[in-house]
Amino acid sequence: MATTKHIIHGVFGDEEPLLDACKKLRASGIRVKDVFSPFPIHGIDSVIGVPRTRLAICAFIYGLTGMGLATLMMWYMMISDWPNDIGGKPNWAYYFNIPAFIPITFESTVFCAAHGMALTYLLRCWLVPGAKAKNPDPRTTDDKFLVYLDLNDEQAKKAEAVLKECGAEEVNHKGSYTVEPKYVIEETH
């Protein structure tokens, strides 16, 4: 059976009632899809249930990559391809001269971790050149705060009530769409 989904915008004039509304919506089991605000609202992530970022794991992987690349590069250049005289020290093994290689390893690790993180963030948020701003209501760049909801019939009714109760200035129904179920379970008796 197809379900109807409704897109609802709850517009607030302040961040406090918005936070309050988000808490109440979540408490009654309604998913807050997104919040748009002119400035960062402190502690909003945990209130609307945004999972913790996994960017740190990426950073670790990029760092390891940088470390590996630097090691490979220096080993090839300084030891394998053309053994270099490093401060008059024996040059037949990498570990013998490791203090000399540490600064470059460190720099390369930091370089790869930092650039990798920045690029991952930009791509994941699709902040590429020419990308269009995904803003449902331009007023949120000035003085309005918006809760973006995407709900079925029953939840939509409940959500509209909650938003009004919490002091939303406007509750806008922005349209609905139908979703066909992906799998149909056939009854077999």
């Binding site: 913790r52 203090p99 000399a100």
Partner: protein
Amino acid sequence: MNSEKLNFTVPSKARMFAMALMAVGLISIIVMFLTDHVEGDEHYHHNRAWSNVFAGSFFFMAIALAAAFFLGLQYAAEAGWSTTIKRVIEAVTMFLPWGLSLLMLLFILGQLHVHHIYHWMAEGISTPGHANYDEVIANKMGYFGWFWWVRTILYVVGWLYFTFKLRNNSLAADKLDIDINNSFHWKNVKLGAWFMVLFAVTSSTASWDWVMSIDTHWFSTLFGWYIFSGMWVSALIAITILIIWLKKLGYLEFVTESTIHDMGKWMFAISFLWTYLYFSQFMLIWYADIPEEVVYYQTRWESYKALMWTVFFINFALPMVMLMSRDSKRNFFFLMFVGTIIFIGHYLDVIMIVMPGTVGHSWTGLSWMEFGTFFFFLGLFIYVVLNALAKAPLKVKHHPFLEESLHHSI
């Protein structure tokens, strides 16, 4: 708000613990002085015993000093997050007069030739023809000698002045019912900024004068920052452990989890500052391979190799692996456990800095002497700091960032 425990009283158990540490330490210091001899070495005058006492005094004095620096830094930067833990930091700074007195006593005894920690204090060191004459040191005597004493007194007076001014202004603000202009706060902001200026210069020069001059022939320009980073991270650990312990006792309810998380970040970050300087000093000397510089690491590499690697792994690898993730910094038992190990690691670092210059190749490895002395100074430190903590309410009354700090969340 009234149910909060704002006034700390030293639990009798903690007092007994500190006393017991001091008693054990004192006994081992006495036994150490009675037994510390090296067969056949006439120039060895309880060197290891004196060096241990010096290391203990210096380490804990440095913690108090670094705490004072950290406090001044919070004011100078007008930081908001640390307001709730200000009293804990202040309590740690109150060990400074004790540590400095102990060090001054050691310096005076050295000048009276009771101990031989400082080579340049030896009799006739700059008199040509004397049995102790040393040309290299004789050429440096313009910097040592009376000028050294002028500097030492300047450090002691300067540091104590700023530490007590910061503390007294903070206490004086508590006596006011209302502080509209934050007058004492602004005084402390100014003091903090000036202390940064004084500390920037004196932390380096004091490290050269008091610690680096043990190896009088040798010098390293970044030595001051190396000592500074070590003392800073030790102070951060001391403060963090104290906060967590107080929280366990039911005090400091107003300190948020995020504040402790931030202290964990500081521990993590400054551990790397230390590593950076520890390694830089080594690498530059290793690379250049100049005999008068290499001699410093020669002694350490030959007779202190185990200690050198231990210090390196505890103070670098351990915080990197253990304190990197967010969860580890929010697990307070874990933070305390790792912090304790790194704290000991930094004490061993001081041992490794001091001993080769005084004990040299007679070193036989870590023993009860190092730990006994450490216990004595640790006990004294705990005793003094807890008493200082009991003297003032745990929460500052007037501070423009108090409200921000109470709601600190990251």
